[in-house]
């Protein structure tokens, strides 16, 4: 296949994909959180007849509603494009599994775009009630994006029962779906609250005193939302009996939520510029630490090879290949080896175990993983390519070792180095 700008294999790799995925998640959560915070504050401002709060929301409307929405929309579709290039089989498989959900998301996006426009341009022409309704519609449609991403991400992480039954209900209601949805919703509200604070601080149409007053008026409401995050996370930790690594990540997130809560309390009680600056810096630091830990955790998950919870995205294998792999012993059920003292939920882990890739055979290289190798090995000398294929796990840790016969290895090498086979799915 020929493209005007040539092949982009140099730009398509897992590191960029992981970073893009994490960036998109952060932007999506911030956008949805801002939408929720905006709707709540608008209704509060209308009920309390607070002209100052409404003026601030109107002044920041462009950066609260359209900008985050379009940033998340553009990034989301770009991540989809990137995934389709890097992991075509996996993306195709996910699209088949979640087609109806994604179709719903597509129509909700259209409503969201209409709501963003109606809200942003409706300050002069809409009645208060209609304006609040559009804000609520925008918030609900933004949250639907969080639901969609929670559904797909949780399925990638824990397909568990679906691997046995292949039933749609097991794919949708997987073990980590509800916890992930709750945590991401809470994270979104916290990130949205922080973003709202910074937007208000940057507004040009308000004096410094008015900005403090706006934040003071918003503080109690935002505090209730942001302060709920540590409670949610602690509750989930108790329910899920999480291991230490995840616990640390969640404690950090909880710490960030607490810091945001403190920020809003201080902003609400004090009107000192120094305090606002100091608390803002502390919040930013907590946000940085928590985000780094969360991003690192997500990055590792996206790059982690072998374990079945990630097999779709690390090995780019179609969902329908799983039963055959199990039959042939390529995909085996094994207990996770967890060093003592690190796992807080050893009982649960022993009971659950994990699906693990032991190796891939000739056919899998042709059909799935081999697609990525073809562009690298095409035209290479036979002996050199054969050595590379024999030592694939050393070359690329994300690829399981080849366990075919010597004859299969020769055939595979001929195929991968041939300049005539440049199409996937052959």
């Amino acid at each position: 296949m020929e493209y005007p700008l040539g092949h982009m294999t140099a730009l398509i790799n897992r590191d960029v994909f992981a970073a893009l995925g994490m960036l998109f998640t952060a932007v999506l959560l911030t956008a949805s959180g801002l939408a929720v915070v905006n709707a709540g504050l608008l209704i509060r401002g209308q009920r309390a007849s607070s002209s100052l709060l409404l003026r601030a929301l109107r002044a920041g409307s462009f950066f609260i509603v359209p900008v985050p929405f379009f940033a998340s929309l553009v990034l989301g579709l770009f991540v989809w494009f990137y995934a389709a290039l890097l992991l075509p089989s996996a993306t195709s498989a996910l699209i088949h599994q979640f087609m109806w959900l994604l179709a719903m998301q597509g129509f909700v996006l259209i409503v969201q775009a209409a709501a963003a426009y109606a809200y942003h341009t409706g300050w002069r022409v809409l009645t208060m009630r209609d304006h609040a309704r559009w804000a609520l519609i925008f918030a609900a449609s933004s949250w639907f994006g969080v639901l969609t991403i929670s559904e797909i991400a949780s399925f990638i992480l824990t397909p568990d029962a679906w691997l046995e039954s292949f039933r749609a209900v097991d794919a949708y209601i997987n073990p980590s779906f509800f916890p992930l949805l709750i945590v991401l919703t809470a994270w979104g509200v916290v990130l949205g609250s922080v973003a709202f604070t910074f937007i208000v601080q940057c507004l040009a149409g308000l004096t410094a005193g008015e900005k403090k007053l706006v934040l003071a008026k918003a503080a109690r409401w935002l505090w209730t939302l942001a302060g709920a995050l540590p409670v949610v996370i602690l509750l989930l930790m108790v329910l899920e009996d999480a291991p230490l690594a995840r616990a640390a990540e969640r404690f950090a997130a909880g710490g960030m939520g607490t810091a945001v809560a403190i920020l809003f309390i201080v902003l609400g009680k004090r009107e000192s510029g120094n305090r606002i600056g100091a608390t803002g810096a502390a919040t930013a630091f907590a946000l940085l630490v928590a985000s780094t830990m969360a991003f690192h955790s997500g990055y590792v998950r996206l790059k982690d090879p072998y374990a079945i919870r990630n097999y779709i995205y690390t090995n780019d294998i179609a969902l329908d290949a799983a039963p055959r792999m199990r039959r042939e012993g390529i995909l085996t059920y094994a207990h996770t080896i967890v060093p003592a003292g690190i796992d807080l939920s050893r009982v649960a882990a022993r009971r659950r175990g994990e699906w693990v890739f032991r190796a891939l055979r000739y056919g899998d290289y042709l059909g799935a993983t081999g697609g990525r190798l073809r562009s690298e090995l095409r035209g290479m000398a036979f002996d050199e390519a054969r050595i590379i294929i024999e030592h694939l796990p050393v070359v690329d840790s994300a690829i399981p070792p080849f366990i075919g016969t010597p004859r299969e290895l020769d055939d595979l090498t001929v195929f991968l180095t041939s300049p005539f086979h440049d199409r996937d799915g052959v």
Binding site: F62, F70, H96, A114
Partner: protein, 334 residues
């Protein structure tokens, strides 16, 4: 290319024809919305110049400018659905669609930011030259998108999966003609809603007639330039409906007070786009299936999710209808 046996569902498994239908409908929606966005961006600069010369005319240009961010947003947001359904049908072989999406998506934030910024400040801007410049910038971005789509359309339809530059130029011209025709029809409809707007209707219908005529000629050229590809019934219907659009536009020019003709041209053009989209979905699949013997993975039945989809779709339509009808009747400042 090995001709496929006649099969209405193109050899797809049972159930996939629904997805095919959804792909046709949502793809047509996206094509219409995006053509409208592109055509409006091309037409607005000329319209503003005309309205400045004749200040007594109804301010159609300003109306279009006010609605432009919504138009562009809907044009972009509506892309997800056809991309989803196309990928469901074509599976991991829809690389061309993915690459196309990536190339032009990088340009879109620029157009969106310009549209929203303009909509926010346009009342305070008295320099019409600057506004025209902004719209030409937006149009340039969208024209680039059209060029990228044209090139990749030839790749995904070519048996050897290579770009055909001559074919791409024809498709590109087709997209521009469709955009101008769509914008002209919209302009005629918008002008027709005001009293004493015959001049606006006539001008819109003239633009639409020119666009539709060019579109019909280009579709004929495109159809005849691939002698190995049999033209389907959908193509013939699309061609006839495009001619009908041009005819309705000419009647609209002659009788601008009769509001039937702008609406007739809008319906005919919509039908033409849907029909041509159906032809293209079928043609694209025919190439993919014949060339690669690709069999898409079976789509397992998901009755609850299908029902949820219908419910969400109904809710979305209800919200959009409420937006169009309800807001008009309860309009009033805060």
């Amino acid at each position: 290319m090995t001709p496929l046996p006649p099969n209405e569902t193109l050899g797809l498994p049972a159930g996939m024809s629904v997805i095919e239908l959804l792909s046709v409908i949502t793809g047509s929606l996206h094509i219409l919305l995006f053509s409208l966005a592109l055509g409006t961006a091309l037409v607005i600069p000329a319209l503003l110049r005309w309205e400045r010369r004749l200040p007594a005319r109804p301010p159609v240009g300003e109306r279009l400018m006010a609605a432009y961010p919504l138009l562009l947003s809907l044009g972009i947001a509506s892309y997800m659905l056809p991309a989803l359904f196309d990928q469901t049908i074509a599976g991991n072989l829809s690389y061309a669609a993915a690459v196309r999406m990536g190339y032009w998506w990088l340009m879109i934030p620029l157009a969106l930011a310009a549209a929203y910024a303009l909509a926010s400040v346009v009342r305070h801007l008295h320099d019409r030259g600057l506004i025209r410049l902004f719209y030409l910038l937006i149009a340039a971005v969208l024209v680039m998108k059209a060029a990228v789509v044209a090139v990749h359309d030839t790749i995904s339809r070519s048996p050897v999966m290579r770009a055909d530059i001559a074919g791409a130029i024809i498709i590109f011209a087709t997209m521009i003609a469709l955009a101008i025709g769509t914008a002209g029809v919209a302009m005629g409809l918008a002008a027709g809603r005001q009293d004493g707007a015959e001049c606006g209707v006539r001008r819109g219908m003239r633009i639409a007639a020119a666009g539709a005529s060019a579109l019909a000629a280009l579709w004929l050229l495109e159809g005849s330039s691939h002698p190995g590809t049999p033209l389907g019934v959908s193509w013939v219907i699309a061609f006839m409906l495009t001619l009908a659009t041009a005819g309705a536009c000419i009647l609209g020019i002659l009788r601008p007070r009769n509001s039937v003709w702008p609406w007739t041209s809008a319906v005919a053009l919509t039908g033409a786009v849907i029909s041509m989209r159906a032809e293209r979905v079928a043609a694209g699949l025919r190439v993919i299936i014949a060339e690669t013997a690709y069999t898409p993975p079976p789509l397992r039945p998901q009755p609850w999710m299908s029902a949820a989809f219908v419910a969400v779709l109904a809710a979305c339509i209800a919200v959009l209808v409420w937006m169009c009808l309800g807001m008009r009747s309860r309009r009033g400042p805060q």
